[in-house]
Amino acid sequence: MMKTALLQISALLLALPVSVALSSPVLAQKKAAEPAAGEPASQEQVQSDISTREIAIQSNFTGIEILIFGSVDFSDSRTPGEGTYDVIAVVRGPNEPIILRKKERVAGIWVNGPGKTYSTVPGFYAVLSTRPVRAIASDQTLKALGIGLSDLDFGRYTQGNPNEQAYRSAMIRLKKEKKLFQERDDAVKFIGRSLFRATVALPVNVPIGRYTVDVYLFRDGAVASKSQGSLEVNKAGLEKLVYRLAFQRPFIYGLLGVLIAVLAGLAGWYAFRRD
């Protein structure tokens, strides 16, 4: 799969001189006039793709590193290190409801307090960027685009109440510890004037489902272009079979578990008997 990704990159590299030649300096200058967040500001176009569009979780799955790569068509950048453009890539997994509990001391022992339910917590969320996102664009712009952990909507009103804020940061901290939330401000690297790449590690506990990958091209604090992609994470092979049986035929699955255990017990005794 890495091989195909590399092939695609080299194809993009070949296309590069053409796109540079086509870019018009007159048009490029227009983008200096304050563009609204989210709207393409100029002629630059960002193209991107993901190295692996389908991830199959099998018994040897220990997490996977995916490559997000792309290029800036009609790039204005004259030298590689110029820093005309910034790229922010947002990888987002399916939402899931989560109960967050805080332990409290009751009569000397630590007890789970009443839980708060958050209905739409992303199962996975990663922000990858060329620089710290706050250096790339204003808080307002980032908020409008929904970029960054501080602006994530967990499906629960959290403004104002300082207690709620503590819960919210606990959720982010716990998710970060599990590598299910990531913020990496040096993950996106430009190669040459218009080609960029970023890798993101999906940990072993990634939820299954459809993931979206939004790649934003920023110029002077505003979005110049946006590109979208997606990938599927699914269980495959034996893992899929077991998972389906467990949830669709739980009684048969339970019986199977007991049967396997009994047979293993019999086999173990037979192999070790001393007669």
């Binding site: 979780i57 099998q58 018994s59 040897n60 799955f61 220990t62 997490g63 899931e96 409801p97 989560i98 109960i99 967050l100 509990r101 805080k102 332990k103 001391r105 000397g108 022992i109 630590w110 007890v111 789970n112 009443p114 839980g115 339910t117 819960y167 606990a170 959720m171 901290r173 716990l174 998710k175 072993v204 506990n205 939820p207 269980k235 034996l238 893992e239 899929k240 077991v242 998972y243 467990a246 949830f247 739980p250 009684f251 699955y253 339970g254 019986l255 199977l256 578990g257 007991v258 396997i260 255990a261 009994v262 293993a264 017990g265 019999l266 086999a267 173990g268 005794w269 070790f272 008997r273």
Partner: protein, 308 residues
């Protein structure tokens, strides 16, 4: 290397670690006639398996180790079938009541706390009593007196109860009510705590019914097969928390360890066996108690709404 992904627990674990854990618990199980769930379940949770899955999968593993353990005990004539079935009859009723209780507590959000407190109380009291008794027995033996743990002539209130049954293998002629009640209580605790319940069954049969220690171990492990099988089925169908791949690894390790455990158990004296088991039971109780008393480093915890 040797990492394997678990389809229900949704984490990747080391194959050898899980086989080893199964073997260690199986060894203890064969040696003491306990299921080992009270050790296995906390260890699984420590290795990152979600608690609900650890409980269900632990029960499934105990089915396997109990089968091979029972067969090994059977060859030595240590299983009192009649007593076993009376205990199971009570145990099945208890298991259903336990699952029902757990469901109510879960809805109130306090299942985890109640499980921990029950563990501490039972393990603490039983461990302390067993340690006291077995140390006394060892001391008396050292002093040169001949003692028998079994005082057959001693009568207590249990002998006054009706519905008397003969249990020839245990050399007992007692009412069927105490074994039924013991079976029921153990079944209740077993499903509630997600363990086989041997750590309660063994001392109850020794001290309350005065069965011979070797028959107690065989009979206890025999009835554990049935109780844990029911608990496994209930968890799989009601909570979807059984991980068959993990259970398989634990069972393979468990049945091998169990065979060595039975042999090791034969070489130790009854008093020493009981003292060792008591120390282990006390150790687990203290560990759980500390978790409740010490301030946790992370006060918050998250669980998916579905798999709570």
């Amino acid at each position: 290397m040797f990492q394997i992904y678990l389809p229900i627990a949704e984490i990747s674990v080391n194959l050898l670690v899980m086989l080893g854990l199964g073997a260690a618990v199986g060894f203890l199980s064969g040696m003491f006639g306990v299921g080992g769930g009270f050790l296995l379940t906390p260890f699984l949770m420590l290795s990152g398996i979600p608690p609900a899955i650890a409980v269900a999968t632990g029960a499934n593993q105990i089915v396997g180790t109990s089968v091979s353990g029972t067969l090994a005990q059977w060859r030595r004539g240590n299983v009192d079938l009649r007593m076993g079935f009376v205990l199971i009859a009570g145990g099945v009723v208890g298991a259903f009541v336990g699952v029902f209780l757990l469901k109510i507590l879960r809805e109130a959000g306090q299942a985890g706390l109640m499980i921990s407190l029950t563990y501490v109380c039972f393990l603490g009291v039983i461990g302390a009593l067993m340690l006291w008794e077995s140390l006394n027995a060892i001391r008396r033996q050292r002093a040169g007196k001949t003692v028998s743990a079994r005082k057959a002539s001693q009568h207590n209130w249990i002998h006054g109860l009706p519905f008397k049954m003969r249990f020839p293998r245990s050399r007992l002629y007692i009412s069927a009510i105490p074994p039924l009640v013991i079976g029921g209580l153990v079944g209740l605790l077993a499903s509630f705590l997600g363990v086989g319940g041997g750590f309660i069954m063994v001392p109850a049969l020794i001290y309350l019914l005065r069965m011979p220690t070797n028959v107690v171990i065989g009979t206890s492990i025999f009835q554990i097969i049935f109780i844990t099988a029911i608990v496994t089925l209930l968890h799989a169908t009601l909570n979807y928390t059984l991980d068959i791949v993990l259970a398989f690894l634990l069972v393979i390790g468990g049945v091998i360890g169990g065979q060595f455990g039975v042999r090791a158990g034969q070489k130790l004296r009854g008093e020493q066996l009981r003292a060792l088991l008591a120390l282990m039971v006390l150790g687990v109780a203290i560990r759980i108690l500390l978790d409740l008393l010490l301030k946790p480093s992370e006060l918050f915890s998250i669980v998916p709404l579905s798999g709570a």
